[in-house]
């Protein structure tokens, strides 16, 4: 009797579990639509994207998209469990690129979206690694960043936007003589030193793509003897960065953070600020009418070396293990329809990565448009190394007074040690021997 009833309980329980699992697996809602899970966690744009998803759901009867805003860590865990989202738009960085390197994302090569994307962005995507023969991820929104400057101060002082290192020093000297802080430093927050001071200095001095390809080729050999190395190629950029950071910043830069910087800059306490477009909305909170502009930081005497830092703020990916790849692709094409992708980028001050797309219409980022259009762009060297090399901390240590040669030597050793564990990705196609 007892064994019978316990078996009945067991059968009932497994039936319940199965039906739960079944409903989750099939992903069909009661009205017969195929439901797909769409991961999107860029906080500032969730409202926009939620509306776009609602429009899509209303525009057809086959697919229902559910937006999931739980963030990157949850997504990584879902990949490990073998239950990834059906489609994702995520910041493209070393962490996300691991899914690419291990071929966990499906090929988007055949989609219309892939055909409309600007080809010269592909090498930048592949800097983080690639899966042989696949287009694993497509850029959706490109953020460009360079020096933000206060137009009013520049006008009052009769200054022109500098295009060479010497002109930059003249501008900075003139500002200093007029009693104006040339650059506002926020060295307390290490990332601001990394993405601004370090990245702009290196990106304005050398070809970042070539450098990291060569560095990946050197692998475990990177060091004092190697053809390319941090200690050799970064020495001069770092030297110039430190000139600016020590002589031309506010005295309390070491104890100021990102929030302090936005406030001070909005009050006109400095003429230039090494931040990205995300700072505009923060500055506008206290000074909505402040006229701001942008220009790439000149680090050499040749204006042809000028380039702006970009990052793939959003990239679209469809995981290999998704069970609704077809439906996800349909939604992908919808996302990439020119009016949607352009409207999205206009709302976020981003650049649309499509051929012939209109540049964002905002005077604050106007100064970067020509560089973006001519593909004079680079990805920040601070984000092109694995997280196991704490570049932000190293950059911060340098502006706070550590010996740059020491730090760059440490970075070489770190790089070689990581290459010893696994070869670094390059933007070139992998060799078959691998």
């Amino acid at each position: 009797m007892s064994s019978k009833s316990s078996r009945a309980v067991r059968i009932a329980a497994s039936a319940a579990v199965l039906s739960l699992l079944g409903s989750a697996l099939v992903g069909c809602s009661s009205d017969g639509r195929e439901t797909i899970r769409f991961t999107f966690s860029k906080r500032e744009a969730i409202e926009f994207m939620t509306k776009l998803v609602a429009d899509y759901n209303a525009s057809q009867d086959d697919v229902r998209v559910e937006i999931d805003t739980s963030g990157v860590d949850v997504v990584s865990a879902s990949f490990v469990r073998g239950n990834p989202p059906d489609i994702m738009l995520a910041n493209y960085n070393y962490e996300v690129a691991r899914f690419v390197q291990r071929c966990a994302l499906s090929d988007l090569g055949g989609t219309d979206a892939a055909k409309s994307v600007r080809e010269d962005l592909q090498p930048l995507m592949e800097q983080y690694g690639s899966c042989e023969g696949r287009t694993s991820a497509l850029p959706y929104s490109v953020m460009a960043a360079s020096v933000i400057y206060n137009k009013q101060i520049f006008d009052e002082q009769g200054l022109e936007v500098p295009r060479t290192w010497d002109e930059l020093l003249q501008v900075a000297d003139q500002l200093k003589e007029a009693g104006i802080t040339p650059f506002y430093g926020t060295f307390k927050d290490d990332w601001t030193v990394g993405q601004g001071w370090y990245d702009y200095s290196v990106g304005g001095s050398l070809d970042v793509l070539d450098f990291f390809d060569a560095l990946a080729k050197e692998g475990t050999e990177v060091g004092p003897e190697s053809e390319v190395s941090f200690q050799k190629d970064f020495a001069e950029p770092m030297d110039r960065m430190l000139t600016l950071a020590t002589d031309y910043t506010n005295d309390d830069a070491p104890s100021r953070g990102y929030g302090d910087g936005n406030l001070a800059f909005s009050k006109g306490e400095a003429a230039m600020y090494l931040q990205g477009p995300w700072a505009f909305s923060e500055i506008a909170k206290t000074a909505p009418d402040l006229e701001l502009g942008t220009f790439p930081l000149p680090m050499t005497d040749d204006p042809d070396d000028l380039a702006v830092r970009v990052n793939m703020d959003l990239a679209a990916m469809i995981p290999e293990e998704s069970r609704h790849k077809e439906a996800a692709r349909d939604f992908l094409e919808y996302l990439y329809q020119p009016e949607h992708i352009e409207e999205y980028n206009a709302s976020q001050l981003g650049f649309t990565p499509l051929e012939d797309a209109a540049a964002p219409d905002d005077p604050r980022i106007e100064g970067m448009i020509e560089y973006y259009d001519e593909a004079r762009i680079y990805q920040g060297p601070s984000v092109l190394v694995p997280k196991t090399i704490p570049v932000f901390n190293y950059a911060q240590a340098m502006v706070l007074g550590s010996d740059p040669d020491d730090i760059l030597r440490t970075m070489d050793a770190d790089w070689a040690r990581i290459a010893f564990r696994a070869p670094a990705p390059t933007s070139q196609t992998k060799e078959s021997a691998e």
């Binding site: 990584s76 990949f79 490990v80 691991r98 899914f99 390197q101 291990r102 071929c103 966990a104 060295f187 307390k188 309390d252 070491p254 104890s255 100021r256 953070g257 240590a397 706070l400 007074g401 550590s402 440490t410 050793a413 770190d414 040690r417 990581i418 010893f420 564990r421 696994a422």
Partner: protein, 199 residues
């Protein structure tokens, strides 16, 4: 089975007790813990050790790479430095906490006025949430102290302690000690009060 029972019947009572089956109630307490602990701690630990000999990142293809990860780890000067820092930091904090807590406890058990009120004040840091302490001290170190230094013209106070790579650890010791002192102080007070007055 029959042999065992014969032996048991022949043996004395205490011996027989020790050989008898354990009360099921013990298993009732032991098994759930054992199962949960094994599933949540032991199994993941063993799996983790297994994967430390591979190049897995948790998904996709992986292959064995022997001791590569360990060689990389032990050749990393940053790891040695982290250990040294942690030891140095712990030693400094333990010493500071105990000295200050003991002195406070001696003071607060002596015959002084407002004893209860003062004890309460010194225990307050213990009940403040860590995140608030972090926020307040971050502000103090970055803004208030440099401002005070500028106002009084004291040079070395003018830059934030947190911005000084050689001294930032002192700031961490100060804040950790502030939070740990009340607990230690209460123990010392309890100990001091239990010492008979004529000793």
């Amino acid at each position: 089975m029959s042999t065992t029972s014969t032996i048991i019947t022949q043996g004395d009572r205490t011996r027989r007790r020790s050989h008898r089956r354990v009360e099921p109630i013990y298993y009732f307490f032991l098994v759930p813990t054992l199962v949960l602990f094994t599933l949540a701690i032991t199994v993941p630990g063993v799996i983790g050790i297994f994967f430390s000999f591979t190049d897995s990142i948790g998904l996709g293809d992986w292959s064995f790479n022997g001791l590569t990860n360990y060689i990389a780890m032990f050749s990393d000067p940053a790891i040695l430095q982290s250990y040294l820092f942690t030891f140095g930091f712990s030693i400094a904090t333990v010493i500071v906490v105990n000295i200050v807590a003991f002195l406070l406890a001696v003071g607060l058990t002596s015959r002084i006025r407002f004893k209860t009120g003062l004890r309460t004040i010194f225990v307050i840091p213990m009940v403040i949430s860590g995140i608030i302490i972090a926020y307040v001290f971050n502000f103090l170190f970055s803004n208030s102290i440099p401002a005070a230094g500028a106002a009084t013209g004291i040079e070395w106070l003018q830059t934030s302690l947190l911005a000084n790579p050689d001294l930032a650890w002192v700031a961490i010791v100060i804040v950790t000690a502030l939070q740990a002192i009340p607990g230690t102080m209460l123990i010392y007070i309890a100990g001091l009060l239990s010492v008979p007055g004529d000793v």
